[in-house]
């Protein structure tokens, strides 16, 4: 008990807040470093389905993203599911060209292991997805990741 009493006698009434800015700055730097400012607008709906058997990819530089879903701006692009790569909506035959462009950005040794992360909206049917996959096979980019979020398991 004497230990506590001593402390109370010595300390002032107010909490010392001089370290607060440092703590906040630390948090700030953390978020600044982890933030990826969106370099592209996603033009299609993105409600990613959930699943359980997720795997994480180690090498993020090898990943290229493809977005599939119903366009957000239906008056401009129609209501059929479209494929977005980089900043634009493309049609299936253009995918081969896009993959080759993405591949050229990678160092030579990694070109074969390019991974396509397919971010597909829940509402999309298998038809357009199969078309995209056929094109990816044509482009020889055969490693595909179906982007998905963790499903909370109900037991």
């Amino acid at each position: 008990m004497s230990k506590f009493r001593k402390k109370k006698l010595g300390g002032s009434d107010q909490i010392n807040t001089s370290a607060l800015p440092d703590i906040i700055f630390m948090l700030l730097f953390f978020f600044m470093v982890t933030t990826v400012l969106r370099e592209q607008d996603v033009l299609v709906d993105q409600r990613i389905p959930q699943s359980t058997q997720l795997q994480k990819l180690q090498n993020k530089t090898l990943i290229s993203y493809i977005f599939i879903g119903k366009p957000k701006n239906t008056s401009l692009y129609g209501s059929e599911p479209r494929v977005q790569a980089n900043d634009v909506l493309i049609s299936s035959p253009e995918i081969v060209q896009w993959v080759n462009q993405e591949r050229d950005k990678l160092p030579e040794a990694d070109r074969q292991s390019i991974t396509i992360s397919m971010k597909v909206d829940k509402e999309v049917k298998m038809g357009p997805i199969s078309d995209v996959q056929t094109e990816l096979r044509n482009a020889d980019a055969r490693k595909v990741l179906y982007a998905s979020t963790k499903k909370t398991e109900e037991n």
């Binding site: 933030t35 044509n138 998905s148």
Partner: protein
Amino acid sequence: MSNEINAGSMADIAFLLLIFFLVTTTIASDKGILNFLPPKQDPNVPQPDIKKNERNIFNVLINANNDLLVEGEYRRKAEGLDKDFKDFIMNFGAPDEEAVALFNSLPASLQAQAQRKPDSSDHPGEAVISIKTNRGTSYAVFLEVFDNAKRAYFSVYAERVGLTPDEYRALTDDDEASKALQNKGKEGIPMAISIAEPDKMGGN
């Protein structure tokens, strides 16, 4: 007049910036289900004629109404499919010499799961799970079935090396030890999930 700059509002400024970054941050999630597409088909080379016994193929058909046909049986939901997949893979109905050696190397808990049904797969090396969809099938349903198939394989692999499936999936091939574990789990049991080209009926 004091010589020091008043630093009292420093915390406020930092807070403001912090909140800005909190709001704009999207922590990139590169998680998902990995799949390897088959190589491009050469039109000049005829498709190899692979003869496989019907019992070694576990057929899952999904139609445009998202109904499932699992080995000829109608099913409304994909839930519980992973159990069927696992029973099918680990059936060991007619193992050859290699598969008997594989079977003997498995832990007892996995050996106990072998049902040895004559009308199911011969051994894991032969077993293939085939998922066929329709162009009108919903992607979410397909992914659920695919997820179940992966779950069956990962639970077998994990049980073999004495990890939980979550731990097994988190293994990376960065260091030798986890790579060895990964290979030990997979050895002799290839992940054979075939995704057939969707048929055109009833979709778009």
